[in-house]
């Protein structure tokens, strides 16, 4: 809508995590406020956008979703490229999905900007009775690894907005301060150019 015209920043945020943890539903909840009970495994790659207002800035969130990547794909690097934020999602009822967080982090840092804002998201809090991953454990792990942390429920729409907004605001904070801008896009070393790049990108995004 009009947001397309009136945003200052476009932030690319990627959803990662094991298959079936609820990435697509988080996305749909955030971007369309929808939840599908019988959602299928995501095929291919797609993204959704939502424009949010943060601190007087209009920020367009471009959130990419793909299938839980269990193998190396040609798109991996392309998928991570330009991402300034990432939500690493696991299922609080499935410990395995939590155990594989480390692997996802590694892949993320292999392909994405090292200053990327990463939030560890424990989804499906609506299934609290089936929880197998204690809140504290994940929180500790997140703190240790410099990750944001939230527990959400796409089904109940709990903390979904908060999670995205937290990430976006953190990105914005980083962008606003010069270091964030540096880290968010391009290369860390190119401070000035990185700012330009964000500008360019913004314009680019604007164009789209």
């Amino acid at each position: 809508m009009g947001s397309d015209e009136a945003y200052n920043f476009v932030f690319k945020v990627v959803l990662i995590g094991e298959s079936g943890v609820g990435k697509s539903n988080l996305l749909s909840r955030f971007t369309k406020n929808e939840f599908s009970h019988d959602s299928r495994t995501t095929i291919g790659v797609e993204f959704s956008t939502r424009t949010v207002q943060l601190s007087g800035f209009t920020i367009k969130a471009q959130i990419w979703d793909t299938a839980g990547l269990e193998r190396y794909r040609a798109i991996t690097s392309a998928y991570y490229r330009g991402a300034v934020g990432a939500l690493l999602v696991y299922d609080i009822t499935k410990h395995l999905t939590y155990e594989s967080v480390e692997r996802w982090l590694k892949e993320l840092y292999d392909h994405a900007d090292p200053h990327i804002v990463v939030m560890l998201v424990g989804n499906k809090t609506d299934l609290e009775s089936e929880r197998s991953v204690p809140n504290e454990e994940a929180k500790d792990y997140a703190e240790k690894n410099g990750l944001l942390y939230l527990e959400t429920s796409a089904l109940e729409s709990t903390n979904v907005e908060a999670a995205f907004n937290t990430v976006l605001s953190e990105i914005h904070r980083k962008v606003s301060s010069k270091e964030v801008v540096r880290g968010s896009i391009s290369a860390v070393s190119l401070n000035s150019s990185s700012t330009e790049n964000t500008e360019e990108k913004r314009t680019c995004c604007k164009n789209i």
């Binding site: 809508m1 947001s3 971007t31 369309k32 406020n33 929808e34 291919g44 790659v45 797609e46 993204f47 959704s48 956008t49 939502r50 424009t51 471009q62 990419w64 794909r73 040609a74 798109i75 690097s77 392309a78 998928y79 490229r81 789209i208």
Partner: protein, 658 residues
């Protein structure tokens, strides 16, 4: 025996032993009883009675006849009768209960020709260790086809001295020409044999072998043979029938090493000492017998008779030739058995003597031609001998001789008639048996062939199956293969089932039939032997029997050895049995495998499934690879889209919520 005192004057040619019963046996079986049987043995000839089950005092009443070659003290081994009583053990070796050892020479010397008595059983070494019981034996000495009494009668009027005189004469002559007559005999023997029995030889396989041997001998003694022939001719002139010389000389020699008892008496070491003269006399024996039968003329005299008795007597290879063994006209074991078993009535008139059987077998085997010829010769011989004797007698007492002759003739005629009748009967029986045996054999052979064919078929099938299996393993042309297999197996099943039935049926038949010939014969029920024989042997054994019969016709000596030979056959034929068994087992295996295969077709479906799975796996992997390719392609496209036009990837309904 009215003539018991004369027993010294003749030597038996055979002995008939009847094992009536035993008593006071040591119980070795269950409940203090025995499953007892007796083995009757003289020299190497053995017979066994049937097993009398669960008894303390077994009664067998079975008899066996043995030839008594070389019946003189120097040959004690061959003149000892052993009756060994055994307990048939269910498991393991049969147990020895005791044996009666009878010195036939002593027995013969001490008593008359016939005696029935209890004999004590002793241990294996012949010692009387403990009470083992007794066995009731009837031992009857016999002389060829005449019972002792008959012989004695004939002998009564003929003083031995005359015979010996003649012998001396001949011997003297011979000695002039030939010191070593034993060896000298051989060539003429061989000649005679080949001449007189040549036709017969042609008919029997076994004999041809012997003929070979003979020919060898012939060549060995070739130089002498001429001399010998001359000699024999000269002797024949002695015999006063010069016109028949040529035939005589040859035929006479076929009389071989047959020793007249008188000769034996005179020369105990006949084996080596026998001279041409004795030879010539002996040789008369066999022919005179028949000759008399056909030509019971006035020229027949006692000497002839003696000769005839002599005929069968000596079976020992005195001349050194193995061939000579057979000419003695000893009945084959079979013959004896048949005789004793089939014609128990005959035994009462007590002439179960081999020599007839010899002839009967001859007839049975249709070797009548040679026989007729032989008969002719014998007639001639007989004539000649008779003439000679008559001449001699005429010198002394013509009248007496004539009277005796007539008596003798009458007797002989009677006997001859009896013989003839018996022979005919025997021949008939033999023929019947032969035909039966033939039938059996044919049946068996057919069965065997059938089996073989089946076997081959089965093997072929198995091979096919194996090939198919290997093929299927390769998984080439999967479904077609499997279907083929199915079809084949289905074919095989009914076939085998059908085959199985006839197979077993002939089997049982065989066993049944094969036992029959022996069942008739009590003596032959010899358990050890029969147990050795498995039904499957019978085609062979019956064949052998036939062969032996043929042989026996000419060389009856081979028969007494029969019990042994039968046993020796067992191992020969047993391989065949094994083969059959072995052959049979594979089919069984096949069937088992088969049932597994064909039953619920599990194996088939398994194979099918496997093949299917494999195929699907192949398909899957192919598809996977295709999918991977597609994914990679999509990825590449996505990458390009992400890099160049990411907006294309925006979710379609993204505009809605936004």
């Amino acid at each position: 025996m009215s003539l018991a005192d004369q027993s010294q004057q003749w030597y038996p040619t055979s002995v008939q032993v009847t094992v009536h019963q035993a008593r006071n046996l040591r119980p070795k079986g269950k409940n203090g009883t025995n499953d007892a049987y007796a083995i009757i043995q003289v020299a190497k000839d053995k017979f066994s009675t049937s097993v009398s089950e669960k008894c303390v005092a077994p009664v067998w009443k079975e008899e066996a006849s043995f030839d008594l070659p070389l019946f003189h003290p120097g040959n004690g081994d061959r003149c000892t009768l052993y009756v060994i009583v055994m307990h048939r053990a269910q498991v393991g070796l049969d147990k020895f209960l005791g044996q009666a050892v009878v010195n036939l020479l002593d027995l013969h010397d001490n008593k008359s020709g016939k005696k029935t008595d209890w004999f004590k059983l002793v241990d294996k070494s012949g010692k009387e260790d403990k009470v083992r019981g007794e066995v009731l034996l009837d031992i009857q000495f016999m002389r060829n086809n005449m019972s002792a009494s008959m012989f004695d009668l004939s002998m009564q009027d003929k003083p031995r001295s005359r015979i010996s005189k003649l012998k001396d004469k001949v011997r003297g002559k011979k000695k002039d020409g030939f010191s070593d007559s034993a060896s000298a005999i051989v060539p003429s023997v061989s000649k005679g044999l080949t001449d007189s029995e040549g036709e017969a030889d042609a008919q029997s396989l076994n004999q041809s072998l012997e003929v070979k041997k003979k020919s060898k001998l012939k060549t060995l003694f070739a130089p002498k043979s001429n001399l010998q022939r001359n000699l024999s001719q000269s002797m024949s002139t002695l015999g006063t029938l010069p016109e028949k010389n040529s035939s005589l000389s040859s035929s006479r020699s076929s009389g071989l090493n047959v020793d007249s008892p008188e000769v034996k008496k005179k020369f105990k070491f006949l084996g080596h000492k026998r001279t041409g003269s004795s030879d010539s006399k002996l040789s008369q024996g066999p022919f005179s017998l028949l000759g008399r039968s056909k030509q019971s003329n006035s020229d027949l005299n006692n000497l002839c008779i003696n000769g005839s008795h002599v005929y069968a007597e000596d079976t020992e290879p005195k001349s050194g030739s193995t061939l000579s063994l057979n000419s003695s006209g000893q009945g084959s074991v079979e013959d004896v058995r048949k005789h004793t078993s089939d014609v128990p009535a005959d035994s009462s008139f007590s002439i179960p003597v081999p020599s007839y059987k010899h002839e009967s077998t001859d007839r049975a085997t249709l070797e009548q031609q040679p026989h007729q010829e032989e008969e002719g010769r014998r007639q001639a011989e007989a004539k000649r001998i008779a003439e000679a004797k008559r001449l001699e007698e005429e010198e002394k007492s013509k009248l007496e001789a004539k009277r005796l002759q007539e008596e003798e003739e009458r007797r002989h005629r009677e006997e001859q008639e009896r013989k003839k009748r018996f022979l005919e009967e025997e021949a008939k029986r033999k023929k019947q048996k032969q035909t039966e045996e033939e039938k059996e054999r044919r049946k068996q052979e057919e069965a065997a062939e059938h089996q073989k064919l089946e076997e081959e078929r089965r093997r072929a099938e198995e091979q096919k199956r194996q090939e198919e299996a290997s093929m299927s393993d390769r998984l080439t042309s999967l479904f077609g293969m499997i279907r083929k297999k199915e079809e084949k197996k289905e074919e095989v099943v009914p076939q085998q089932a059908a085959e199985e039935i006839p197979k077993t049926a002939p089997r049982s038949n065989i066993s049944h039939h094969s036992n029959n010939p022996f069942d008739d014969i009590p003596l032959s029920s010899d358990p050890p032997v029969s147990s050795h024989e498995s039904p499957a042997d019978d085609p062979k054994s019956s064949l052998n029997q036939q062969k032996e019969k043929k042989v026996s016709a000419v060389k009856p000596r081979s028969h007494p050895v029969k019990p042994m030979s039968l046993e020796s056959q067992a191992p020969i034929s047993s391989p065949a049995v094994k083969e059959i068994k072995v052959r049979e087992s594979p089919p069984g295996k096949i069937q088992v495998a088969h049932s597994v295969q064909s039953g619920p077709y599990t194996q088939l479906t398994q194979e099918e499934l496997i093949t299917l799975v494999v195929r699907q796996q192949a398909d899957l992997s192919r598809k996977d690879s295709q999918i991977v390719e597609l994914e990679e392609y999509i990825d590449r496209l996505l990458v390009r889209v992400i890099e160049e036009q990411p907006s294309l990837l925006q979710s379609l309904n993204a505009s809605k919520p936004v």
